[in-house]
Amino acid sequence: MSRAETVPVSEAVAASAARRPSPLWTLGLLRSELVTTLRRWRTLALLGVLAAVPVLVGIAVKIQTRGGRTVDHSGQGPAFMTQITNNGLFLVFTALAATLPFFLPMAVGVVAGDAIAGEAGAGTLRYLLVAPAGRTRLLLTKYTTVMAFCLLATLIVAGSALIVGALLFPLGDLTTISGTRISFAEGLGRALLIALVVAASLVGIAALGLFVSTLTNSGIAAMATTVGILITVQILDQIPQLHALRPYLFSHYWLSFADLVRDPVYWDDLVKNLDLQALYAAVFGSAAWARFTTKDISA
């Protein structure tokens, strides 16, 4: 058992003296994790792709509606597509609706899958554990980092969409999908709320990815498995014969964020979504903890 705790006696004594590091020290660990994650070219490329989606959607709608033509009325494509020309703020909703089914969770799957397995693969995990962090604390820090990435990725999509929407389309009072009007400030508030809900929707797959990441020492394998699970679940959610299973699939209520653009807001599915994400986080978070705190670290 090459557990990190079985370090030479002199070091162990020194470590046990420092076993209860100040909360500040934990923040330091979190900061170093965040910086490491965000400095990776891979992460930056993912965020770049996410930021480009609203730009593409915005330009496509602009070109299509040039010269006073209205956008395609068939109602195809992501939700809110037809309203973008009324109000640039709708580009935020469209961009999130377009990226939530695949781009966003894929990015989260890559970061979460890499969290532990990537360190193990690069041989840096045991050095991390030599520091008096403790495995539980390290895992929590990793999970917090992944969740911070969820929020950052969502805010980047929303922010990019807001900028593109403001540049290409008029802003102003907003017609909700229920047909009522709300002020631009309230619309902006709802857009922020939607971004937070979308980020929270990714908490489930983040926990799942972290669990997968504790199972293997290969970062690539963990990422591929997580993204594979994502695709499988999305397909299962489309099969009508499996409707009994659907409410338990983490992606089932993802698009319920659209209910925040109703007036009054329809909370039922939103609450179900958040409950489900919390359940996934609890189940796979604790499974990751059970695995990570008891497994042999050989790399």
Partner: protein, 404 residues
């Protein structure tokens, strides 16, 4: 020797300690893996038990006779309310999905009106599946009905003289005025439990038994359960159960079960209801910029007869003769299309497709095809007559024979 001995002892102790540690580690591992398992267990128990706990305990309400309850519904004068309604329709129709949509939009275009915001093209979707609606009302002048879809919403807003339909998916707006139709004009198609209950209570006569069947809680409110059962044979209607709010007399839930048993054909109930005045802004509508606005055609008489899913499907038809009375009434009309299916002229393939859904019957009247659902059956004879009603196949054939 002594040092060696002591070394041995230490080694033995080490081995023991290592064994202990291994056993300890195995126990610890098992204990830790028990945590996610326990979380799953607690979640499963919560999902299983909470609805059971919430459903337990019917409210204790003073006893009331069926007559008093019907009077309570009639006297009920709720002007202001809002709520969420869930409609479950299971007519046993094949799930045509996109095909049905195509057909209805084709029909819409056929009548020279392609707007997806037209109430007629929207509300046909209620005929099958599960839908969530929102209703709000503030007096006879202001009503709103919204059909909640994933990522979009269809709203029908009646405010004073204006009737607006807004489909957020396509950004289409439909505008009509209710002034010419007078006060009796109904902006809303039947969608709330009250609409269905009113229809059902109209048919309460000698052919029906009406009882109060205990109490229940609907949308967090105490309610009486009114049970309506047809006494006649030959109808496909098994029973109708209406939950009536004990305080206001408003029907909160309407369930229609077929005689053949199984799931309800129609289940309409509030999942959330409030009798407070809805915000005035709920009923304000201005077409958003860039929306395509379609004006109502003045001659659209059909508008008043929005498609009525459910039992009174037959009665709602224009220009139909009604045979029989009560639950076994059968609507009949002549399509004038000799040669069977009225769609036959639209192409052999499609007619053949429809024919394959029906069942060939023959009798004194000649030959025909019966189309069955779990509630409504229809007989289309080869000489173009249609008989339809919430009655059994045999009753249709009998009616056709007598009509000859």
């Amino acid at each position: 020797m002594a040092p060696y001995e002591s070394d041995d002892a230490v080694d033995a102790a080490r081995v023991d300690a290592a064994g202990d540690e291994e056993r300890h580690a195995a126990r610890r591992k098992a204990a830790r893996y028990a945590v996610p398992v326990a979380v799953v267990g607690v979640a499963a128990a919560t999902i299983g038990l909470v609805p059971a706990l919430a459903a337990s305990g019917d409210p204790d309400l003073p006893r009331i006779t069926a007559q008093q309850l019907i009077e309570k519904i009639a006297k009920s004068d709720v002007q202001q309310m809002s709520g969420t309604v869930r409609i479950d329709t299971d007519l046993g129709l094949p799930d045509l999905g996109g095909l049905a949509n195509n057909l209805s939009s084709a029909a819409g275009k056929g009548s020279g009106d392609g707007s997806s915001a037209d109430p007629r093209s929207q509300l046909t979707s209620l005929v099958s599946g599960t839908h969530t609606l929102r209703v709000a009302a503030d007096g006879p002048e202001k009503q709103k009905l919204s059909l909640l879809e994933s990522g979009s919403e269809y709203s029908l807003i009646h405010n004073g003289k204006n009737v607006w339909g807004y489909d957020s998916k396509t950004n289409d707006v439909y505008h009509g005025t209710s002034a010419d139709s007078g006060k009796e004009h109904r902006a809303e198609p039947p969608a709330t439990p009250k609409d269905f209950a009113d229809q059902a209570l109209k048919s309460v006569d000698g052919t029906t038994s009406v009882t109060v069947d205990g109490t229940e809680r609907v949308a967090g409110r105490d309610a009486y359960k009114l049970l309506i059962k047809p006494r006649q044979s030959g109808t496909t209607v098994g029973a109708i159960s209406i939950a009536v709010d004990a305080k206001t007399g408003t029907p909160l839930k309407f369930t229609l079960t077929p005689k053949s048993g199984g799931a309800a054909v129609l289940d309409v109930g509030f999942t959330q209801v409030s009798f407070a005045k809805p915000a005035a802004s709920t009923f304000d509508f201005t077409p958003p910029k860039g929306a395509k606005v379609t004006e109502e055609k003045k001659d659209s008489a059909a508008h008043k007869h929005a498609p009525e899913p459910g039992r009174d499907f037959a009665k709602g038809m224009n220009g139909a003769d009604v045979l029989g009375e009560g639950w076994t009434s059968i609507a009949t009309f002549d399509t004038g299309a000799k040669g069977g299916l009225p769609t036959g002229s639209r192409g052999g393939d499609f007619g053949g497709f429809l024919g394959s859904l029906g069942e060939k019957v023959s009798g004194k009247f000649g030959k025909g095809t019966v189309f069955s659902t779990r509630l409504v059956n229809a007989l289309i004879t080869d000489d173009g007559k249609v008989y339809a009603g919430a009655v059994t196949k045999d009753a249709l054939v009998k009616a056709a024979n007598e009509g000859k």
